[in-house]
């Protein structure tokens, strides 16, 4: 498939190289790391929303589950960090499996139920009754694994995996079938597509990358509270970034993160006061004037956007 290869070469590989090289020229590594995290999360939203039409308003549930999966492995089993990150991903997938019945819901109902599920997981993890396991509301302080350089490298690997998944979806008949499911699940099943299985696979893939991202995030920050890793801002940012760029494309969510998260940080650094206001207005303008995202500026003209 020449298209697949081209997409790897013109989008995925350059991005990965840039993100891998940047730390040696720019020293706010945590900012770069957060860019990597949001690249992953925005693409994770792309996988489930862009390709299957489910807007995961509680996407952070997977991220937080991954972070706590990591923390529990390290705290209780002294697991090496990379293994613990993988377990974080696995925990998110298990959570995804538990939540698969939510896929029976449509539209806003799914989004709200997903939000509720994320909040439920947060309140579960943060409950003092589970202090022995999760440290409850008292927060996690991990010792012995702290290694920002390796955590950053881990983040790059997970980003590579995520981009791999998205490029595959964009170019494979599997991805096409998913989009068919998104457009009309009846027609899709009459096209021979196993609708339930397909969207479950996409849902779990999306959960996996968020869980891995959560694991690597926990590795990087080491000290955190449930509120930190289950903050609704993660879901909201990832969704807004993905939509802003344009979903069901490879480049859209990436462009969204670069522009919006870039602006976010610029505003934060220079004129902090009106931050939330500008951001809110930007989101509204997006929905009203560019509902299909920035890439639609090009697609409207008939240009192909990978």
């Amino acid at each position: 498939m020449p298209d697949t290869l081209r997409h790897y070469l013109i989008i995925a590989v350059p991005l990965l190289i840039v993100m891998a090289v940047l730390p040696s020229v720019y020293s706010n590594h945590l900012l770069l790391f957060n860019f990597v995290i949001f690249f992953i999360l925005a693409q994770g939203v792309n996988i489930i929303y862009g390709f299957t039409g489910y807007l995961p308003f509680g996407y952070v549930g997977f991220f937080g589950a991954g972070a706590y999966g990591f923390a529990i492995m390290v705290m209780h089993l002294n697991a090496p960090a990379p293994l613990a990150v993988l377990v974080g991903g696995a925990v998110a997938v298990v959570l995804g499996l538990i939540l698969t019945p939510l896929l029976r819901l449509a539209g806003a109902y799914f989004s709200i139920a997903n939000l509720a599920a994320a909040l439920a997981v947060l309140h579960l993890v943060a409950n003092p009754a589970l202090e022995q396991i999760t440290k409850g509301p008292y927060g996690v302080a991990l010792n012995g694994t702290f290694n920002p350089t390796m955590a950053y490298a881990g983040g790059i690997l997970i980003l590579a995996l995520t981009l791999g998944i998205v490029v595959y979806l964009k170019n494979s008949s599997f991805g096409l079938a998913l989009q068919a499911v998104r457009e009309d699940s009846f027609s899709a099943s009459m096209s021979g597509v196993n609708v339930v299985k397909m969207r479950t696979v996409a849902w779990l893939a999306s959960a996996l990358v968020a869980g891995l991202a959560g694991g690597v995030f926990a590795w990087y920050v080491s000290v955190f509270y449930p509120d930190n890793v289950f903050s609704a801002d993660f879901s909201i940012f990832a969704i807004v970034f993905a939509l802003f760029g344009g979903v069901a494309t490879i480049s859209g969510p990436l462009i969204g993160v670069i522009i919006l998260y870039g602006i976010y940080n610029l505003i934060g650094f220079t004129t902090p006061q009106y931050f939330q206001l500008i951001y809110g207005l930007l989101i509204m303008a997006l929905v009203l004037f560019l509902p299909a995202g920035l890439v639609s500026l090009a697609t409207r003209r008939g240009w192909y956007v990978p």
Binding site: P101, L105, A113, H123, A129, I283, V287
Partner: protein
Amino acid sequence: MLYPLVAGVLFGLYFSLVGIGLNLVFGVMRIVNLAHGDFLMLGAFVAFGIYTAAGLDPLVGIPVAFALFCVAGLLLYWVLVPRLQRARDPEMLSFILFFGFSQVIEALTTIVFGTSERSIPSRQLASSLAGIRASLFGGEATNGPFRIFGLSFPASWVVAATVSVIAIICVYLYLYRTRLGTLTRAVMSRRDEAVATGINVDRVSAAAFGIGLGLAAVAGVFAPFMFGSFTPAFGIDATVTSFVVVVLGSLGNPLGTALGGVVYGVSYMLVQTYLSSWADLLPYVLLIAILLLRPSGLLGRRVRVA
């Protein structure tokens, strides 16, 4: 056992009022008003303003808030909604649009009023009615605790529950006894058919939107009493709880919302009594359970699944 039951009913009736505006807006337009809680918050500021600036009974805030936000809702409707309805997936886009809007409201309120908690002394609520109450039920002309079955409850709860019941009856009468209301119900059950039969859907929807925001603001008048205090940031929690109540009941049915509120209130109080630290898990678990087991809500007929 009796105490949490009665408290749950009072508390729950108030939550019906909190949710009913959301129900109207979602039911009629399939628009997910994520800024619902923020209108509640603004309603609380209206009551606060009336009390601090003019020293009036916050109950005066009810007609003021309702009128103010009805008008605001109508204006907002004409600015935002037609654009939205032209889009391919208005439900999902409205979700994001109103999220942006809620950010803008919170930011502006914070800039104008600051972030500290505010409230209104409990005895001020219905102070104008205290004399009447004293003559009816005896006792002093103050707003001391209210006694039901020999148990004492905050007077403000009783007032809020009473106003809620009146509001729900008004909504019911509007929907079932007025022409515009009948049309509203027609639009709720079959939007496309309503369009086909020549109903002015825009007029119906605008009215529902205005009334929905007005009711949210009315509920907000009681927020300082029901939640102890309020800040510009309290909107989002109120929105999520409203969704629980609305989904528990069912779309388009004011009685369903009343039932949803009471079920929520009673179960919340029971959990708070017997499993205190898990109380916040309840709304989310309830929401997910009802969506999966009975997606049409307790009183609903319509099924909404993918």
